[in-house]
């Protein structure tokens, strides 16, 4: 990563407008992914207001680590994944993966870089061509990106099948003949084929059964340790994020509202929405009760608020929240949240109870 140092600095500068330098001031830190000031609005027609999918999102992912992006429908998390690989053009901001600027790259460049940056999608069957046998599906990226052919190619496909724990004879099957878990293993093998450094995982286990989900996540963790892979994991499920990610970024209506080490964010959340999201994670231990009250209301589309995107549903809302979008503020080392209450003790449960009362009274 020859030029990542430069971009880490510009990223810090962006973050530090009023908070001083961000924590990753070590210029040697090896960032596989640097996203800075990303904006994306989807418009049905030119000139229309459109839907803001990503609004000024910045983050970095260290080489060999996993950043989990968590959020609910409409948070923009999947759009971030697509922008990262150049599958969706961005409106503004920069995206660097492995030192290459994705924004402004031409399709030919993107194609040639794709051997190093891969993606696994949510629906394992829909990601596979029904006419390709497993073996051909896994070999396809090798035909495109390498000059492996014949026996060499066959050996590499065998090796990949073994790496994702699929029996060699499954190679002769068609995707519809496999279980959901096996199909997703084929997608992972395809992603691994060209020896990438970065893999974007967009809800890789959301459509799988509980026990299969655990097996696939376990495989992903093993592969990361074995090959030093960098993951960007998109998920709606905090349990998955907690198990697999080193750091977590929480998104809400296109804004990144909190980011930091997984343990830190999930035990000491600073943003009220993060706290509500943690409260919605239902433990399989009946003694472990939800840590937060139930949040009222729903994500609203339509006109974007000029202030905080969560203010409408927030029990801690103050007048200042409606005035301007809160910037990310440092809560502790490497942990930032875009909320005015950062660093101040607050009683979300008490405020939520009161909020509900006044809500019903009005």
């Amino acid at each position: 990563m020859t030029n990542s140092g430069h971009d880490a600095t510009s990223c810090d500068a962006h973050r530090s407008r009023d908070e001083g330098p961000a924590t990753d001031d070590d210029a040697d830190t090896d960032h596989a992914i640097i996203v800075d000031g990303l904006h994306k609005t989807f418009r049905a027609r030119r000139g229309q207001a459109g839907v803001v999918a990503i609004d000024d999102v910045s983050f970095v992912v260290e080489r060999g680590q996993t950043l989990g992006i968590v959020g609910e429908s409409g948070s923009g998390k999947s759009t971030v994944a697509r922008c990262l690989l150049g599958l969706t053009p961005v409106d503004a901001g920069s995206v660097e993966v492995l030192g290459r600027s994705i924004v402004g790259a031409n399709p030919k460049q993107l194609r040639s870089w794709r051997s190093e940056m891969q993606i696994v999608f949510q629906e394992p069957l829909e990601s596979l061509d029904p006419r390709y046998r497993v073996r051909d599906a896994i070999g396809e990226p090798l035909l495109l990106h390498t000059d492996m052919r014949g026996d060499v190619l066959r050996k590499r496909v065998d090796e990949l099948l073994a790496q994702v724990s699929l029996a060699t004879d499954l190679g002769a099957r068609y995707p519809h003949e496999l279980s959901g878990g096996q199909q997703q293993r084929v997608n992972i093998a395809r992603a691994l084929a060209t020896d990438p450094s970065v893999i974007v995982l967009d809800e890789p286990t959301a459509s799988l059964d509980v026990s299969v989900q655990a097996e696939v996540l376990s495989l992903l963790v093993d592969l990361q340790a074995q090959f030093g892979l960098t993951y960007l994991l998109i998920s709606h499920d905090l349990t998955t994020i907690r198990a697999v990610a080193d750091r977590v970024a929480v998104m809400y209506l296109g804004r990144l509202i909190e980011v930091g080490p997984v343990d830190e964010v999930l035990t000491n959340p600073e943003h009220p929405y993060t706290e509500f999201l943690i409260g919605a994670e239902l433990s399989v231990n009946p003694h472990v009760k939800p840590a937060a009250p139930v949040v009222q209301g729903e994500v609203r589309g339509g006109e974007r608020p000029s202030g905080c995107v969560f203010a409408q549903r927030c029990p801690l809302r103050m007048d200042a929240c409606e005035e301007a979008q809160p910037e990310l503020r440092i809560a502790s080392a490497g942990h930032e949240a875009a909320c005015l209450v950062v660093g101040n003790k607050h009683d979300l449960a008490g405020a939520a109870a009161e909020y509900r009362l006044t809500d019903e009274g009005s």
Binding site: E72, S73, V221, R242, A243, L282, S283, V284, N285
Partner: protein
């Protein structure tokens, strides 16, 4: 312990295709006490949804119960004709399914759909029907009743549509609610809103709830009792605390481990050392 609201004994179900017949359920037993919430949990193909469909008499084509009994209060549901079951469904037993958008008819607004349900079970005049619809929309936590009553399904968010479906399931005053994956596909915070709603309704209107889910967390946090199903059989059942904190069956243990995912985290952290 109160009398069971619902009792299923030795239920066997087969689904016949043109030539062969496949056994789907192999002697399922299930007991739901009055006022309780019972979780029927299992993975794809475990037979949890087929058990629920057998109870309410909504079997897929070719489906046939070959043995067992389903007792609801003092009624033998398997002895009823299809016409009699239509009387039971929607009146004494309310039903909620996974996707609220497909459970609602797209061409009618919420008020008219709920009105049709009432008309088919209760003898009420228009004013009484309207009052009952409004009352039930408020019951499920909908504040802007006027808007939602006149809304078509596509105009509602997923969470709001599921509230409307629950209101429709309850509008004729059932004592049992059968909910098949009622929160799957909803966002986490909305899922919790809906589960809290079902729990509060259960207390307010004395409702027994049978909830079918793949999510052990839902069962752990909201149910009193549960049955764990696998391959058409109940592998373990009982009070939620005893089964989830001290499971006896291997399958249950595996399901708990796989749901919690803590071991993956431990493995990952060990590899980073």
């Amino acid at each position: 312990m109160t009398d069971p609201q619902l009792s299923v004994r030795g239920l066997e179900l087969e689904i016949a295709t043109r030539r062969t017949s496949t056994a789907i359920l192999h002697g399922v037993d299930l007991t739901l006490a009055t006022g309780h919430m019972h979780g029927l949990v299992g993975e794809t193909g475990s037979g949890k949804s087929m058990t629920a469909r057998s109870i309410v008499g909504l079997l897929p084509p070719g489906g046939r119960v070959t043995a067992g009994s389903v007792t609801f209060g003092d009624q033998d549901l398997l002895a009823k004709t299809e016409a009699e079951m239509r009387e039971v469904r929607g009146a004494a037993i309310g039903m909620v399914f996974q996707n609220p958008r497909t459970a609602l008819y797209p061409m009618l607004n919420i008020e008219n759909q709920m009105g049709n349900v009432i008309k088919s079970h209760l003898d009420l005049d228009k004013a009484e029907r309207v009052a009952r619809i409004r009352e039930h929309l408020r019951l499920v936590g909908i504040d802007d009743v006027d808007r939602v009553a006149k809304a078509y399904p596509h105009e509602l968010s997923g969470g709001m549509a599921q509230r409307a479906v629950i209101a429709m399931a309850l509008v004729c005053g059932p004592s049992l609610l059968v909910a098949d994956e009622p929160t799957t596909g909803l966002d986490a915070t909305i899922q919790r809103q809906i589960l809290e709603l079902i729990r509060s309704l259960q207390k307010r209107i004395t409702l027994s709830v049978l909830i079918i889910t793949h999510d052990l967390g839902v069962v752990a946090q909201y149910c009193d009792t549960l049955s764990v199903m696998s391959e058409g059989r109940v592998v373990e059942d009982g009070a939620v605390r005893s089964v989830l904190l001290d499971p006896t069956e291997e399958y249950t243990k595996r399901l708990i481990t796989a749901s919690d995912l803590g071991y993956i985290r431990t493995k990952r952290l060990a590899a980073q050392q």
